[in-house]
């Protein structure tokens, strides 16, 4: 028995060393380890041996089988490493993978949506070309109001209705559009492109993205606004962020608040990112003005709520360390690949 096994092993090893491709390997496996292989036959025949020989013969046949299996594995991995058995150079670069990328603004917008979704905010959109009525009047900014100076506006040529069509200067008109159509509770965010008649430089764009938030119900308070913003900056910029708000003015909120977060780059110690102050202005916000509520048909004695708005590029610049807002619109693949 043992002699037969030794002969078999030696022959199998010789054949295995000569097997150089997947086909030969498979053939070897079928011949030496398959159902009709010699070693399997020997194992089967163990039962017919005299009782006292069975144990030793069974062990020997099994050991031979294991040996064959191990030899097969070893040869297989040798072949995979290279025909000559040399170690592959693992420092070779991978073949080019043609996988594209999402724009950093898309990624930032998605993150904002993802962060606010658990608080019940649904994302809605609205038109970029707007009526003066939605962009200004329904937001408590009547014609000839000095607050209009806060938004330098692109106007659209329209012979039929001169002066009424414009490029929206903020995403806030969508607030009015949503409230006109549904009764509270309202909880939406509005991402989208906005436009300002403004010369471009490293920190100003004529076209940029905003996200607006709006929550209206019977008892939504300024504390809820503050809590939501704190939650937001911590979700976006880390759990150690502190939020502070201070009084401000927007025609469509009263009271109004400017929100700042402790600088994520220096933890509030002061650095170039925060201009040495330790704080970064991040968004404007406030309690929706009763006039705005009344103008869309809500009873301001019953309903109240908050609104906030932020620049998406600004958030992305802070997150990715981008210093020139125009980079987002140049679409240089080197930029897009870096921030993929």
């Amino acid at each position: 028995m043992q002699e037969r096994l030794d002969a078999l092993l030696s022959a199998a090893r010789t054949e295995l060393a000569a097997a150089a491709d997947d086909g030969a390997m498979e053939q070897w496996r079928v011949t030496h380890l398959g159902r009709r292989s010699e070693v399997t036959g020997l194992l089967r025949s163990v039962g017919s041996l005299p009782r006292e020989e069975r144990r030793a013969a069974g062990q020997a046949a099994n050991a031979a089988r294991r040996e064959l299996e191990e030899a097969f594995e070893t040869r297989q991995s040798e072949l995979r490493r290279g025909a000559d058995g040399a170690q592959a150079d693992v420092t070779m670069p991978g073949y080019p993978v043609r996988l594209g990328s999402l724009h950093p603004l898309t990624r930032t917008l998605r993150e904002i949506r993802r962060v606010l979704a658990p608080l019940g905010f649904r994302a809605v959109s609205g038109p970029e070309v707007e009526w003066d009525r939605y962009n200004f009047e329904l937001l408590n900014i009547p014609a000839d109001h000095p607050a209009r100076d806060m938004w330098d506006t692109f106007h659209i040529h329209d012979k039929a209705r001169p002066g009424e069509l414009l490029l929206r200067t903020h995403t806030s008109p969508v607030q009015a559009r949503v409230m006109e159509q549904i009764q509270p509770p309202v909880r939406v965010i509005v991402p989208g492109k906005v436009y300002r008649y403004e010369d471009r430089d490293a920190s100003h764009e004529a076209e940029f993205m905003q996200v607006e938030g709006l929550a209206i119900d019977k008892h939504i308070t300024m504390a809820d606004l503050r809590g939501t913003l704190t939650y937001f900056v911590r979700a976006m910029f880390g759990p150690d962020r502190e939020l502070r708000i201070r009084a401000s003015y927007f025609p469509f909120t009263e009271p109004s608040a400017e929100a700042e977060m402790s600088c994520h780059a220096c933890d509030g110690d002061g650095c170039p990112v925060c201009g040495g102050t330790g704080w970064i202005e991040i968004l404007g916000s406030g309690m929706v003005h009763p006039k705005v509520l009344a103008d869309v048909g809500y009873d301001p004695d019953v309903y109240q709520g908050f609104a906030f708005g932020m620049g998406v590029e600004r958030i992305a610049m802070l997150k990715y360390g981008v210093t020139d807002i125009r980079s987002f619109y140049r679409n240089d693949l080197r930029f897009l690949r870096q921030l993929r």
Partner: protein
Amino acid sequence: MRVPFEWLRELTGIEASVDDVATRLTNAGFEVGAIHRAGEHWDRIVVGEVARIDPHPNADRLNLPTVNTGSEEIQVVCGAWNFEVGDRIAFAPAGARLWDPYADEPVLKELKPTRIRGVVSRGMLCSTKELGISDDHEGILVLDPDAPLGQPLAEALGGEVVEFELKANRPDALSVLGIAREAAALYGTEVRSPIPEARPNEDGASESVVLGIDDAALCARYSAALVHDVKVGESPARIRDRLEQAGVRPISTIVDATNYVMLELGQPLHAFDCETVRGGYIGVRTARPGERLVTLDGQDRELTPETLCIVDAEGPVALAGVMGGLDTEVTDATSTVLLESATFDPISIRRTAHRLNLRSEASRRFEKGLPPELTVLALRRCVQVIEEIGAGRGEFLTADAYPAPSDPEPVSLAFDRIERLMGVAYDRSEVRQALSALEFGLEEDGDELRVTPPFWRRDVTAPADVIEEVARLVGYERIPDTLPTGQVMDLAPGEIDERDDEVRDVMAGLGFAECVTYALTSEARMARLVPPDLLDAPPDAPLGDADAWAEVRETAMNDAGRSLTDRLLPLDREPLRLRNPLSMEENALRLTGLGTMLETLRANRRHADRDLLLFDYQPAFLARDGDLPEEPNFLTAVIGERVSADRWNETGTVELPFVRGVVDELVARSGVPTDQASHDDLQHPTFAAGAAAAVTYKGHLLAAYGEVDAEVAAAFDLDERAWALLVDMPAVRAASAGAPSFSAWSEYPSALRDLAIVVDAEVTQAEVQDIIQRAGRPLLQSARLFDEYRGQQIPAGKRSLAYALSYAAPDRTLTDKQADRAHNRVVRALQHRLGAELRG
């Protein structure tokens, strides 16, 4: 608004530092943009006194003042003459650092002892320019005679100027007094009002000036005061310093006094030379047809009928609230001045100032709406200032027209409303204290609070306004963090379609980099999408006219091309144009993103030779009559000529099927049955002839793709072939069958048969596929094309197509014979219908 900090201190008695005051005001909504410290760079510059002036022995235009600094006397050489013995001046001894007045950039230079025409100068008397206070380089800065000798100049001039970035809702804050009121309320000090008490018999009842207001809606109040024995000259240093620090150029006594009071109280004043006002009459009305006025800037202006004017007995003498007239200007010869202090309609002033592009410190204040109560207070203060500086002797109020007096309306609210809005409780005592500190009148009736704003706070009209005042003054840091509770909302209108996210994900997965491009573009950029000579359009209307396009549609397009032009690439439409573009490079909203994307391709081509796969998924803007434009999300993708292949440096060339693979995947993922979408030859001037296709489904165009026409590519400066893909995603959505539905496959083994045929080159793959599918029924599961060949091994005018066919039955394993029978039916059909020959 720039406020000298010492002025603010004078009106409030606050002793806190400028930084502390700036922080607290900022938190309360009076945002400080910057703190300018005038003396920041001054080093060793002190108050000196001119002790003696000797002539220079060698130069007539120079003199030799000796300056007493309190501790020593130093002789210098000086070229200015505007000072006398005894004047206090800003003195820089040798070793001090000064701005170089002759450098283009601000540069600090150390002063060294120098010999000038034989005499050593050991210091310098400074001008405001050298000190960096203003650009005025004429003459030496002469200080207040009370400035203490030897005191560092920074201290003598008061130092800090606080620059506020004020909001549109607070006209009262455009004054030192307004900011002082706010600061005093925050620090709990008393405001020290600079306004003097009224004088008896100067109550506006005089008949020396007659006032007439045509329309009280355009001018709520007009008050006037006469000043006699006027002396026009230079104002004292105290006035000039404050004006300069506040950013107003000192001119002469009377004008300086009016500007000073405007800065201090927020009420713009205007001074007329009384002798030039005809008929002892001042009126306020809109201009009459044909009326003209030469304004202070020397311009002769024709007045439009909506322009609000100040008139005398004969005609216009000033543009109300915007600019005075040249004829009535105060001059050195003026002996009597009529001071105007009025409340004009904010809208009228704003329109006039915008129309004439004459926005001034005065118009900015009128635009925000000033309280009529202020006119008489400002006159009193102005007359007082004029008398103090010895520039005349006046009446506090000579005439006053106030046709419809009104007081601020009280606002009522329940105490608990504050907590309801803010989400935090305030003690009633806190509420009272905050509102009283801001000088609001308070009445309480149980739980109700009745608040009467002071006359300067007409912006407070509703409970929310009152609540904001309380919250602001107590401080926003009191507000805690809570999260909104309550019901979840219904589905919102205009909800963002998550399938848009998937479109981006699919494109990124297919190797494309997402771009976000500008919606603003130029007509010229869009016009470059057709070959230049095709439209022969003039440069001012590069997209051509209707006739030209009618011809292009007829001659350069097939049905697919016309259908593409109808919507997805609507270059023959009028784009929405901007009335006020930033430049002609972005004067219109895009009809298609393709032009911008080809430019982006070109820009990236400069630093990459392969794998330029870019897409943009943003709206196009299609005008609609009388309505907002349609803003469909069109997908625009562009592809450069070469893409990476298997190994490191191998590349393949993009061909039409490459782009089709992308389209099919995108369309299939959107739920459109790809086998039912048809791809047809596309003839359109943007695309290369014979290398473009249009995708339609049930007669609707979903997409177009192909190689960009060589002339068009050249127009975008591309040096290689480019491919483009346009997808009308809204149309794809409309064609979608919704969620994909499952269909079972045979559990039995498939029989595989390959098939290679030679057919006429004109026979399309779709025709072959169609015949295979029909003839293979019901056993044929799929027929996958795996090769196409044209060339030497087959006759000219023919091509070879090779397919892998798979046959299976749903209920049994096919025998070889059964599979062969099915396959032979397919072969015979191809032979019969197409005259196909089997190959190999």
